[in-house]
């Protein structure tokens, strides 16, 4: 089975209901899209992530009611450095969608989506702990995996695998 090349042009992905719905809702919020290995990724601009999530959850046809996962990727040394990744799942449609938000290395603030999906509570705390992303609006932004007095964020690429000695 040869891999089909990824489709990265927003124009070609307009037939996907998720892309069409988001563009119809607010074209400024969408920062790009990709269809690769049967998985759809949509980039959302940072300021719109909370409203976009609310829109996708409440949309009558899309109905992404379960937030499966929140994580992050560190692309050091390129900028924007961080990508926060949301994996959405629709229990009724059995469909998946990946949302991504790009964040600059020196400004790692993003709105928390805890008011849309309470399930992101632990996930956002984990991303804060291991990557140092600040989720604004989360009521309990404390470390979850590492001890409270830990220095640094271990999953960043500039953090050595052996830890600081």
């Amino acid at each position: 089975m040869a891999l089909a090349p990824a489709v990265t042009e927003l124009e070609q992905l307009k037939d996907k209901p998720e892309v069409a719905a988001l563009l119809g809702w607010n074209a400024d919020a969408v920062d790009g899209a990709k269809f690769d290995r049967n998985e759809l990724t949509i980039w959302i601009k940072r300021d719109f992530i909370l409203e976009a999530c609310k829109f996708l959850r409440d949309h009558a046809e899309l109905r992404f009611n379960l937030l499966a996962d929140v994580t992050c990727v560190d692309w050091l040394p390129s900028e924007p450095r961080f990508e926060v990744v949301y994996h959405l799942f629709s229990i009724t449609r059995k469909a998946r969608l990946r949302l991504k938000v790009r964040l600059a290395g020196d400004d790692t603030r993003i709105s928390s989506v805890i008011s849309v999906w309470p399930s992101c509570n632990f996930f956002e705390r984990e991303v804060f702990d291991l990557f140092g992303i600040q989720f604004e609006g989360h009521p309990f932004m404390k470390r979850i995996m590492m001890p409270e007095d830990w220095k640094g964020h271990p999953l960043r690429k500039d953090y050595p695998v052996e830890g600081y000695r």
Binding site: M1, H87, I91, S115, N121, P139
Partner: protein, 405 residues
């Protein structure tokens, strides 16, 4: 639900309201199934708030994977959820195979499904035994571990290891099944339904057990979805979702099985759902045994990725070269990212892998079901009696290795 109403989000450490006190449960507590610490605020016997504190088993596996070749990550995945090692192997292998765009021979797929279902039975048996023991029914524990011992012997036959199997490899399996293995599985599968009857005789209609579990740890379907629970915990609230059926992987579309659900949403419902799953799993194992493809390849035909057979390596120059290259340099994976979700015994086990085109994964993230399901614990316990916390913990079947990674 507004932010401050979300159970477990925060707990104030103030003892000023003179009716309540803070009670610390764990991390060293036999019925928290590992090293889970619960900070419980109680008013008499009633729980006001409860906050799980995790991270005691955090081993940084996600960081470690970034320094390993793709094939070296497989043994790490066993150690995440030590009760279902093969499910973790499977999820990781499927994700990397999806990145590579690789097809797996049918026999390997069927063996994977069979071993995966045996692993599910193994995990559910440990859950049933320890859960019943928490409630006070000691006998079932011994019966469950009797059958679990049989399963561990099967694992040992097939992989040489009882718990950390690493039997699934990228592109197929480590080895073909040993001699007489299918007969051993057949014997086990024929006997097992009567064992489940035995457990059910002891528990399902046992008045002490039922009164201890019914109505305890209730969660509504809306809350269960909002709090991100998956697997039996969600199915016991009446949400009919099972990734084996709804998003088939590794050839699950070839098997017929029911997805047990219940609409009650309490601890007893979760018990019934899981016991039914034991029966469904053994049904899938029987179907595997009946339809198992006769001898055929168990590895994909991809010499640059899959290690060659030992025999070939010793007789053919080319195989020796490939072996040397894979061991010393690994294999490269085309850039991209995938999220592969699998129905583990606890819920949705997902691996998110990002490749940058080198021989080492750029990022591996494990979406572990225990981590997500634990968020529902406060919603199950708050406003109820402290004696029921143990029943609720047992019913979401957390494994702290899976939770903390």
């Amino acid at each position: 639900m507004s932010v401050t109403d979300i159970p477990g989000v925060h707990i104030e450490q103030e003892l000023g309201a003179d009716r309540t006190m803070i009670l610390n449960m764990g991390p060293q507590h036999p019925s928290t199934h590992g090293v889970l610490r619960l900070v419980v605020e109680v008013d008499g016997e009633t729980i006001v708030r409860i906050m799980p504190d995790i991270g005691y088993l955090h081993t940084g596996i996600e960081k470690t994977t970034e320094a390993k070749f793709y094939q070296q990550v497989v043994p790490l995945t066993d150690r995440i959820d030590y009760l279902c090692p093969m499910t973790n192997n499977l999820t990781y292998c499927l994700a990397v195979e999806k990145l590579l765009g690789m097809e797996i021979p049918k026999r390997a797929q069927w063996i994977r499904v069979m071993m995966n279902e045996i692993t599910r039975i193994n995990s559910h048996l440990v859950w049933l035994g320890t859960h019943a023991m928490d409630i006070g029914a000691l006998t079932v524990f011994l019966y469950c571990f009797r059958e679990r011992e049989d399963i561990l012997r099967l694992f040992e036959m097939v992989s040489g290891q009882r718990m950390m199997t690493s039997y699934f490899r990228i592109g197929g399996l480590a080895l073909d099944l040993p001699l007489n293995f299918l007969e051993r599985v057949k014997k086990f599968a024929d006997r097992f339904p009567s064992n489940v009857d035995q457990y059910e005789n002891l528990l399902t209609n046992n008045p002490i057990f039922v009164r201890r579990l019914k109505g305890v740890g209730y969660i509504s379907p809306e809350d269960a979805i909002a709090l991100g629970t998956t697997g039996p915990t969600l199915r016991a609230c009446g949400i009919d979702i099972d990734l084996r059926r709804d998003a088939p992987y590794s050839g699950y579309e070839n098997f017929k099985f029911n997805v047990p659900t219940s609409t009650v949403g309490d601890v007893y419902a979760r018990y019934l759902v899981r016991v039914q799953e034991l029966r469904e799993s053994i049904g899938i194992v029987q179907q595997c045994l009946e339809g198992m493809p006769e001898a055929g390849p168990i590895k994909a035909d991809a010499p640059k990725i899959v290690l060659p057979d030992r025999e070939k390596m010793k007789t053919q120059m080319e195989s020796l070269i490939y072996h040397f290259k894979i061991i010393t340099e690994g294999f490269t994976v085309p850039p991209g990212e995938v999220y592969q979700a699998v129905e583990s015994p606890r819920g949705e086990m997902g691996y998110y892998i990002v490749s940058d085109g080198t021989a080492k994964p750029y990022r591996v993230h494990m979406r572990s079901p225990s981590f997500a399901n634990l968020q529902a614990l406060p919603a199950m316990c708050e406003g109820r009696l402290i004696a029921d916390v143990v029943a609720a913990i047992g019913s979401i079947d957390i494994v702290l290795g899976d939770c903390d990674r």
